[in-house]
Subunit: 327 residues, 2 copies
Amino acid sequence: MHVAIIGAAGMLGRKLIGRIVADGAIAGHEIDRLTLLDVIAPEPLRGFAGQVDTRAADLSTPGEAEALVAARPDMIFHLAAIVSAEAELDFDKGYRINLDGTRFLFDAIRLASQEDGYRPRVIFASSIAVFGAPLPYPIPDDFHTTPLTSYGTQKAIGELLLSDYSRRGFFDGIGIRLPTVCIRPGKPNKAASGFFSNILREPLVGQEAVLPVPDTVRHWHVSPRSAVGFLLHAATLDVEGVGPRRNLSMPGLSATVGEQIEALRRVAGDKAVALIRREPDAMITRMCDGWAPGFEATRALALGFTAESSFDEIIRVHIEDELGGAL
Amino acid sequence: MHVAIIGAAGMLGRKLIGRIVADGAIAGHEIDRLTLLDVIAPEPLRGFAGQVDTRAADLSTPGEAEALVAARPDMIFHLAAIVSAEAELDFDKGYRINLDGTRFLFDAIRLASQEDGYRPRVIFASSIAVFGAPLPYPIPDDFHTTPLTSYGTQKAIGELLLSDYSRRGFFDGIGIRLPTVCIRPGKPNKAASGFFSNILREPLVGQEAVLPVPDTVRHWHVSPRSAVGFLLHAATLDVEGVGPRRNLSMPGLSATVGEQIEALRRVAGDKAVALIRREPDAMITRMCDGWAPGFEATRALALGFTAESSFDEIIRVHIEDELGGAL
């Protein structure tokens, strides 16, 4: 099977590649070819016996999507996006990459489909940013998508296109609305939501972290490992069972910041918790009010998607996957 | 005030123009200039003292949206669309006119807005086709949009763009999800939903009409007069009161075909009802199952949008507006 990953150099892309290379297969289907695409050249692959093509390309450049589709990958993971803050600052870039890029990809597949009956599985990484405040808790599967960012708008449009192109039979699309990925590996970044990961990841290795919001803030989390699990489950799911509503709010863990901190205390002790420095930030706190507190995810759970059920578990996944298994 | 109407040659466009010319104003704002645009040249206007520009143009042709916006209309009604059946048959045409055309318009306004602070009111005719079965009855305001046609998909994408561009301050947009317009004037057409109007309009003038579905079919209706009322109300509504969720399910009348027929009997007698010929059509009946049975329309009602409360009233509106006031 030939698998293409768009956005291969991003955090999720790299984790997905790692898992595919380790498994050598997706749900029993052997992978003999990988096409890895990103705006910056993805890292060379080690430990994979099959054919690997890496491309530094931007899907929104005319011709790039056609070039990708020319090799007729059986499975396409579309993870590429300009993130929320950048799409908000640079209107043109956000719409170009997140909307035009996605549409170019879908249209290239459509034309190939009309040419020779090509019909790949397309897994689209959507986001809970398609929802905008005021939001109920938990958010039901049939709640309307009224995004409050251009990024969320672009993802919601991608979802609509995915469903329509799937309904018409051009490809078999599944859109998965990812919770906030926590604990995000790497260095603290300037994303407003970065603190959710920072307050766990940094203290686990003896570093200070800043908490800008009250302990009562509730949000919707999933580990990077489970996020990759969602992508792989979506890749082999029976689409007949999904029906025409192809976009699914993923399961996750709804937790308050206070609950995150207590999990940290249970796993790493008071010393770790003492490294969290409270520096209230009114702007970030206000932004949090607009973020999703949690979802029912009834359909996704029934379809077999699974996530963590405690923050202790999320922290242990991080220790296993990022810290070599021990503190 | 300068008012532009895109889709001016359509049924709703012509009705809106008639009302604007008759009133000479919208909510007390005098209209001194009209720009009428459609793919076929709109009819010349009689009885309007101000300046009139008519343009035969297609918004999806590069440059046309810019040309329209160059004159900086204060208010833009965007009613143009490839209808549902045609957008389903001709994929490219539907996406070109309904999605690209709308985006070109919004982008032309955005660029003008960035140039000189231009910020018109934009009234976007959306549709209950943004919803797809299975649907609850009544459909609440916060129900998700999962269209089952390319037309509905394109309208749902237009709604998302309208909200995002409004949020960013490029224009003040209001999207109104129109119920099925009934009694639609003119001749019977081949639209699958045409019978809702045919079974009333034809018998009212002594002609036979075909009913292809059972009397129990429930649907969501509004008179052409009220649909124009929605557009005009949206044109002068306080957008601050609407907030960031700029797309509103309009009020209407939920009625079964049987209730339509009983209203016809009350207004025009048994003789009129006898002209309805039942010719069950399994395909049309199946399609009806996917159509919206009715809405709560809580927000729209609170914002002052009003519709008919009985089918007798809808029939009387038709007699007044189309048949000179008497049978």
